[in-house]
């Protein structure tokens, strides 16, 4: 096990994961990295990538990892090592050509306060070109900010579910414009306020 150096700021680290942290730079925020790994799904991709990052002392902050039509896709933000160090360490994983890994330094801009009203837009209908493009353009034109979106194609059924933050009071007019766009595409759309369960 590598030695653990003193950590200048651990406010963003969850207590249970501190042991994973081997080293954090003098100013960890200077090394915020966006990493993507995608490739043919198999058992162990997450473990392999996470081990590499842990060995480098990278603190994995926000991530999403899912299987998309048989491809395993990871997008994550981590802080700690340099992009070059992570790239080098991930290279052996990609050596067999089954995984593609990218590492890019990004500018930390901290958490952005949400000013919008959270809504969920659901779209479903026969698959065709441009559904996501058309519907998200309507959202964007209304000042809506998509915070999460997933799509599924099963048979000929295409489903889009987007979580979107809307400017206060924009939902009613937007719902009408979404319905128009959906009618043009021959798909169905609903826009509903998201209902967070606060316990």
């Amino acid at each position: 096990m590598m030695s653990r150096l003193s950590v200048p700021s651990v406010g963003h680290l969850r207590a249970g994961r501190r042991r994973q942290v081997v080293r954090i730079g003098q100013n960890a925020r200077m090394n915020e990295l966006a990493i993507t790994v995608i490739g043919r799904d198999r058992p162990g991709i997450v473990a392999d990538v996470a081990e590499v990052l842990a060995r480098l002392g990278a603190n994995l902050t926000d991530s999403t990892m899912t299987r998309l039509r048989g491809h395993f896709a990871m997008t994550l933000i981590c802080v700690g090592p340099t992009a070059a160090a992570v790239e080098t360490a991930l290279a052996p994983l990609a050596a067999d050509g089954q995984l593609l890994a990218t590492v890019r330094a990004v500018t930390p801009d901290g958490a952005t306060a949400s000013a919008g009203e959270p809504h969920v837009m659901a779209v479903h209908g026969a698959d065709r070109m441009g559904i996501v493009a058309a519907m998200t353009r309507v959202l964007a034109d209304a000042g809506g900010n998509v915070t999460d979106l997933s799509t599924r194609l099963v048979g000929s059924l295409y489903v889009v579910v987007a979580e979107v933050e809307l400017p206060p009071g924009a939902a009613d007019a937007l719902a009408g414009r979404l319905a128009e766009a959906a009618a043009g595409l021959g798909v169905e759309v609903t826009l509903r306020p998201a209902e967070p369960d606060l316990l």
Binding site: A122, H124, V161, A194
Partner: protein, 197 residues
Amino acid sequence: MTGVPDQPDLDPPAETYAGLGDWVPEVLGAGRVIPVVSAPNAVLSRAGAEVDPTAGETVQLAADLIATMRVSPGCVGLAAPQVGVAAQVFAVDVTGHPKAVTLHGTFALCNARVVEATRWKAGREGCMSVPDLTGDVKRASRLVVEGALPGSGKVVQLVTDGFEARALQHEIDHCAGLLFLDRVAGAHAIYQRKVYL
């Protein structure tokens, strides 16, 4: 049919009866098994028309829905749009389902509407017309529904809860041209049943 605990203090309008009374599915006669349509079939997104619950075609439709539901493994409810008919008729039977509490057995309703919906809970739903996906949907776990019985046309109020309440809301949505996909809780609330490799 089991008792209904904590029945709310309802004041049903005149000529509305509490519960199914002596109605049994056998009054509908023999039903036929009809192919179930899948999304994105347009009929699933069309609001169903109100029906005359005493009309022969309505009675036959209700019988067909029950017959089709019974031969479909795992099917706890089926609405007319799912067999290609844009009408406000559905069948439900959640008997034996582990999440069912109150049970009304096998029944069909016409022109049903939700009178009272409380105690909203998230739960996973599937649908015969969306066979490859399931989704997390918030539904009322206490429900009062009013609708007409096919055949007699008697308007009844059903007070129910748990899984039967969820099934009723799902079917009433079908009759309004809505799928569970229209109500999923968020971007990660849809799940694939099959894995496409």
